[in-house]
């Protein structure tokens, strides 16, 4: 995200809360959206899976796996046709590579040399289906590379590696040579959803991955280099706790859209775009 400027666009998945936060959408607006309140970033019409924010050029919050990729291609096409040097970052999970839309979009973005940064967060499980149980070829970069897209894997548990790779890829995309594909190799510690008993993986496996928790690893790195003290850490954690507390309070105090407005936003309310 730090590789992006405010003029760039972001298209994300249904697990987009982190993307929205880092992009600058206020935590309070996100929390209010999850409560379904009018003060939410989508007025309570989208909910947890559909965070949107026009001022942040944040285009959702897409809950059809693979469904956001064509939007990213289109946003990039619009930039190209209007001669702008903006880029579009498109986040999706490894589950999306099984969808036809993934392949259609890799091809189209590469064919038309569009400025899309494809960011695949490979957490090894599409809900409960392990990658190796659903793909004949599990090397995701190879798939992107077969469309002539520069693609490389990144240790998704290493914050600095992610930042470095993203900066490099964003620069390449911005130069106008077409899309790039990054595979962030990561893991999901918690269940897919509130309804997931996690029968498909060993507890031991989860514990192993937790040892490489990116936040803890990054903390250790910073402390080892003397860039962070225990006091700093305490202060960060207090600030985060306060922000979450404020967000919850904001959401709790929020109001509900009036039921009379149920059918608003089906069609635009202005007559001209």
């Amino acid at each position: 995200m730090r590789a992006l400027g405010p003029e760039d666009a972001v298209v994300a998945t249904y697990r987009e809360h982190g993307h929205a936060l880092v992009r600058g959408v206020p935590a309070a607006a996100i929390m209010a959206e999850m409560y379904g309140k009018r003060e939410g970033c989508s007025r309570g019409r989208g909910g947890s899976m559909h965070l949107f924010s026009a001022p942040h050029r944040f285009y959702g919050g897409n809950a059809i796996v693979g469904g956001g990729l064509p939007l990213a291609v289109g946003l990039a096409l619009a930039d190209r046709l209007q001669g702008r040097s903006r880029i579009t970052a498109c986040f999706f999970g490894e589950g999306a590579v099984a969808e036809g839309e993934f392949h259609e979009c890799m091809n189209l973005a590469a064919l038309w040399k569009l400025p899309v940064l494809f960011c695949c967060e490979n957490n090894l499980y599409a809900m409960g289906t392990a990658l190796k149980r659903s793909e004949s070829e599990t090397d995701l970069c190879l798939k992107a590379a077969s469309y002539e897209i520069p693609a490389w894997p990144v240790d998704g548990m290493d914050v600095t590696a992610c930042e470095e790779a993203a900066a490099r890829a964003a620069l390449a995309v911005r130069s106008g040579d077409g899309p790039c594909f990054l595979e962030f190799r990561t893991y999901r510690f918690r269940a897919h959803s509130m309804f997931d008993p996690q029968l498909y993986r060993d507890k031991q496996e989860v514990e192993e991955w937790k040892k490489r928790d990116p936040i803890l690893l990054f903390q250790k790195q910073l402390i080892a280099r003397g860039l962070l003290t225990d006091d700093d850490l305490k202060e960060f954690e207090d600030r985060v706790a306060a922000e979450v507390g404020d967000a919850v309070a904001f959401a709790e105090a929020g109001t509900w859209e009036p039921v009379e407005d149920l059918t608003r936003f089906v069609y635009s309310e202005r007559t001209r775009p």
Binding site: P70, G74, E101, S268
Partner: protein, 331 residues
């Protein structure tokens, strides 16, 4: 545009003129789809436009309906005014995810933040022996979806004029062009923008309302002329827009004539004809002198053989027969 001279023109040329005019008027407009460029369009609608506007704005796509329709949505959100051509309505099902889950929903899901000023054109309907994967009439399905508008130009004026209005609309508009109409030729008297809100009475009449749209309209007009020779004076209503449906014009007509026959090339079950019928029941039940009747396509995937295809579709003779039975039943 109203001072344009009257000219003889085909439906195909009328659409091409509309696209050309849109491209000239607004640099944000571009056309993309399968074979719209070098090939000139599967139905030759965009022939010549590539030379005129170049490959950036007349954009050939791979056979990736979902990607290029979704790219149209993204481009619309990114400030462009795309016209996406899908070769036939059957192929549009490959892009249904994008049309339904994105184009129709993003405005609402985003709490009104992102509108999608996108136009999708596609061919619909049967009559040219293209069988069961190129001949269906699914515009009624699309009319089920809130968030999009569905229009069905049946005349030269509408073929010429609906596109510009659709491009000015802030929300997605789907234009269904019936494949048997492309060669329809006539004099185009008005070559300007037309509304995409109202149904139109194409033939005033006293005895009953024949309600139709798109390709079937012309069969209905033929039936109406035949019925007139035997003293039955039909009013013909062209729906023009299937979503939002112009209930007022339908009810006005039925309130005058007290009888209604709906003619729809879609399958009868769950059809737009069923919706129109329900609205008449809800809004004009006590005006009716006879039950509402429907003439729809037979509930069969479209067969290839000419005689079977003809038998599957609403035809002028069957329409006239239904009208006579209705007039006789309580006339």
């Amino acid at each position: 545009m109203s001072d344009a001279p009257i000219e003889r023109i085909t439906y195909r040329e009328a659409i091409r003129q509309a696209i050309r005019e849109a491209m000239q008027r607004d640099s944000r407009v571009f056309l993309m789809g399968e074979d719209v460029g070098r090939y000139g369009g599967c139905f030759a609608v965009s022939k010549g436009l590539l030379d005129e506007f170049g490959p950036e704005r007349i954009r050939d796509t791979p056979l990736s309906e979902s990607a290029f329709v979704g790219a149209g949505i993204g481009a619309a959100m990114g400030g462009m005014r795309p016209i996406v051509e899908i070769m036939t309505v059957n192929f549009s099902l490959l892009a249904l995810d994008q049309i339904m889950n994105n184009a129709a929903t993003i405005l609402h899901m985003s709490g009104g933040q992102f509108n999608i000023p996108l136009v999708i054109r596609m061919t619909t309907g049967a009559g040219r022996q293209l069988a069961a994967q190129h001949s269906h009439s699914l515009e009624g399905w699309y009319a089920h979806i809130p968030g999009i508008k569905v229009v069905t130009p049946a005349t030269l004026e509408d073929a010429r004029g609906m596109l510009w209005t659709a491009l000015e609309d802030p929300d997605p508009v789907l234009i269904f062009e019936h494949q048997t109409l492309y060669n329809m030729e006539g004099e185009l008297e008005f070559a300007g923008a037309v509304d995409i809100e109202k149904a139109r009475v194409r033939r005033p009449g006293r005895d009953l309302s024949l309600i139709s749209y798109g390709g079937s309209l012309h069969k209905v007009m033929e039936a109406a002329e035949e019925l007139a020779r035997s003293g039955i004076d039909s009013e013909v209503v062209d729906l023009r827009v299937l979503r939002p449906l112009d209930t007022e014009t339908i009810l006005d007509s039925v309130t005058r004539t007290h009888r209604a026959v709906i003619v729809d090339e879609g399958w009868r079950s769950g059809s737009i004809a069923a919706e129109v019928s329900a609205r008449i029941m809800e809004g004009a039940f006590y005006e009716l002198d006879a039950p509402v009747a429907r003439v729809c396509s037979a509930e069969v995937p479209m067969p290839y053989a000419k005689h079977l295809e003809d038998a599957a579709l609403p035809q002028a003779q069957a329409i006239a027969g239904t009208v006579r039975a209705l007039m006789g039943s309580n006339g």
